[in-house]
């Protein structure tokens, strides 16, 4: 329970709100900012001047078409001059990007991640990517920090990767190791890949404007980034959203976590490939192979997709009963499975979910694809700046 803010806190909050608005929506006219933020023109002008002086936004005039009169000023985030590094450790890939304020990917690198790769072996190539990309940073650009999104359970307090069973890591301070390699003035914030992807699809993507969203991310395992009441739900320590370990089939197969019949033992990569008779393969290409074979009429692939689709529908139905969301987004390899099994997923979902809980639901694929995890990782680093834009400003 906290008392209301002081005048100065209100001003700082408004600076953050304006900067966040153009960060999410891109170039915006002063007129639109006035309306959207509910502040008068002179306040918007003063805030914009402060942000311009801090090198965070620019203003340029743009004549409104078909109307006489003064040109309307457009406020733009300084995407080329304020940036973060974004790093992703997925089961099969390592990705890195330099992301400008506004969520613009300015540069990117990626490499395969062989399964079983140790921490030290992931840190080196990611750090090398950062060093490479750093060579093209223009003079005077401002670095705000780095964000790392991992397909694993991350302790909110310090970014420790507690468990990433699909990657094979336990209690690894990956963020610290990376920070030691890349250096720089900014912090290294670590998050879960489904959480940060949910954040971005919620602010800029398939679920923009929706306050209750479940973003499912599938690879070998399945995790969720959950937005409820407009806010990310991550639980006490930051480990929430482990929907892949929701037991849906108590007499089912053993799971890597030690339990039986977890959702991911029915819908993850391994059961799909096994049912399709392709257990010798792995990775996203192999999953795509099954999906394409099913579309071509391959019987085993169709059976595999049907089985997985049934169980996806059941588990999504459970989540719909719990969260009453407006949108469920299928990310990672679940996107590909969803595209070929949508009707079946919807049908099973309708059996399991109560009518009131599912009545306004939309099933969606991501709009930003794998970029969501990169932009989302960068958001972890931008968050401090957006919360208080003039803190530590070099003016």
């Amino acid at each position: 329970m906290k008392a209301g803010p002081s005048q100065e806190e209100v001003r700082r909050h408004n600076l953050g709100t304006l900067l966040r608005y153009v960060h999410i929506h891109g170039a915006t006219s002063r007129a639109e900012l006035t309306t959207k933020l509910g502040l008068n023109r002179s306040t918007i002008g003063a805030l914009t001047a402060d942000l311009t002086a801090a090198g965070l936004v620019t203003e340029k005039g743009q004549r409104e078409t078909g109307r006489a009169g003064r040109p309307s000023l457009l406020v733009r985030p300084e995407s080329a001059k304020v940036y973060a590094y974004a790093l992703n450790i997925e089961v099969d890939r390592l990705r890195a990007a330099r992301v400008g304020l506004g969520g613009v990917i300015l540069d990117r690198r990626e490499a395969e991640r062989p399964r079983g790769m140790q921490v030290v072996d992931a840190v080196q190539p990611l750090a090398a990517f950062v060093q490479e990309m750093g060579k093209d940073v223009p003079a005077g650009a401002r670095y705000v920090g780095a964000g790392l999104a991992v397909a694993g359970m991350v302790r909110r307090a310090d970014g420790m990767v507690r468990l990433a069973p699909t990657i094979g890591w336990v209690d690894q301070p990956v963020g610290e190791a990376l920070l030691a390699e890349i250096g720089g003035d900014g912090p290294m914030i670590v998050g879960n890949i489904a959480d940060v992807s949910a954040l971005v699809e919620h602010s800029r993507g398939a679920a923009a404007g929706r306050d209750n969203v479940i973003y499912l991310y599938g690879d070998v395992g399945v995790g969720a980034g959950i937005i409820a009441g407009g806010r990310r739900i991550t639980g006490h320590g930051g480990y929430g959203g482990e929907v892949g370990h929701m037991v849906v089939n108590p007499r089912g197969n053993p799971c890597s976590c030690g339990s039986h019949g977890c959702w991911e033992t029915e819908i993850g990569e391994y059961p799909l490939l096994k049912l399709a008779g392709r257990e010798d393969r792995s990775g996203r290409e192999a999953v795509l192979g099954v999906v394409e074979a099913a579309m071509r009429g391959d019987w085993a692939a169709q059976q595999a997709v049907r089985h997985v689709g049934e169980w996806i529908g059941l588990g999504v139905g459970n989540l719909v009963n719990i969260f009453n969301p407006e949108a469920v987004i299928f990310g990672g390899t679940l996107r590909d499975v969803y595209l070929v099994a949508a009707a079946q997923i919807r049908s099973r979902l309708n059996e399991v979910a109560l009518p009131a809980c599912r009545e306004h639901i939309r099933l969606r694929t991501p709009e930003l694809g794998t970029d969501a995890a990169l932009i989302g990782a960068a958001e972890l680093a931008f968050e401090t700046l957006l919360a208080d834009p003039l803190l530590g400003a070099t003016g």
Copy 2:
């Protein structure tokens, strides 16, 4: 995205914050308010004066024991003079109370609700309770409204009871019907019984000070009130928390909702009584009878409790993986089952939930018992006052 508040909005926010603090914590010294709210003494004094003038709080001196000096002023909510009506429709009971500001139950009534009772038959006795209790209201007392908590799915927008399968109702405007009977100036706000109970155990009870809490409420069915990140999670339309319809046993028994193997088909009242060989009975007394028989060594009752305990542990494990909560509270008849099956529930939970998700979890019984649902229903009515205490004040 909204801009920061004006000075006047800040003052109103602070008035609400102070009133909410004493509403939740009871009589509080000015010194403690200064510390807890982070405001200086003169601001606390001015806010208290405004709330006193509006008849919402009183101040009385109380000498601090063992210390010389000025007596510290205690700010108290005007529990006897500002009140709401609280109404509960449970599967087997109708309850009503007059609740004073501060969450003090000033008067109460209750009656059995025969299963199959129609809406109109629940409205009449509840309205009669309100009329009876109204006779003892002191002159000049201020009525803020009524809250109704129902064991069913309530549409947030207008309080429509969409589905209460355990009560046997579909699309019933119970709140409107009740308001028409009891009249009065205040609104009638309708909520779900697990949601409002969670709210109260979170603010004043077994989960005070914890931001991530699951309150399970069991009778014939099972629902949950969920607090995540300090806020109630109710989903897009208000229907979230229907954990009783999470499918945990796809090859299990048919559920009243039309699906199969929902959690409540394994842990609700019917399976417990059936497994104990008591399917001819029903209601909380019957559940208590099984629990007591199990403690006395009755074999069938022990088997029934063991079965239900296993499945409670599994379902709670699922929820722990999804929410990473600090506390799970067992309310309604689940309280009684929990008391006799705690070890087993914990053991199964530990198998299903990932170590990081469950590492700080506490399993608890409610501190406020059935009063949580009454105080919680009153909170629905107090909320408008707490959000803006001087709005519509008769001063």
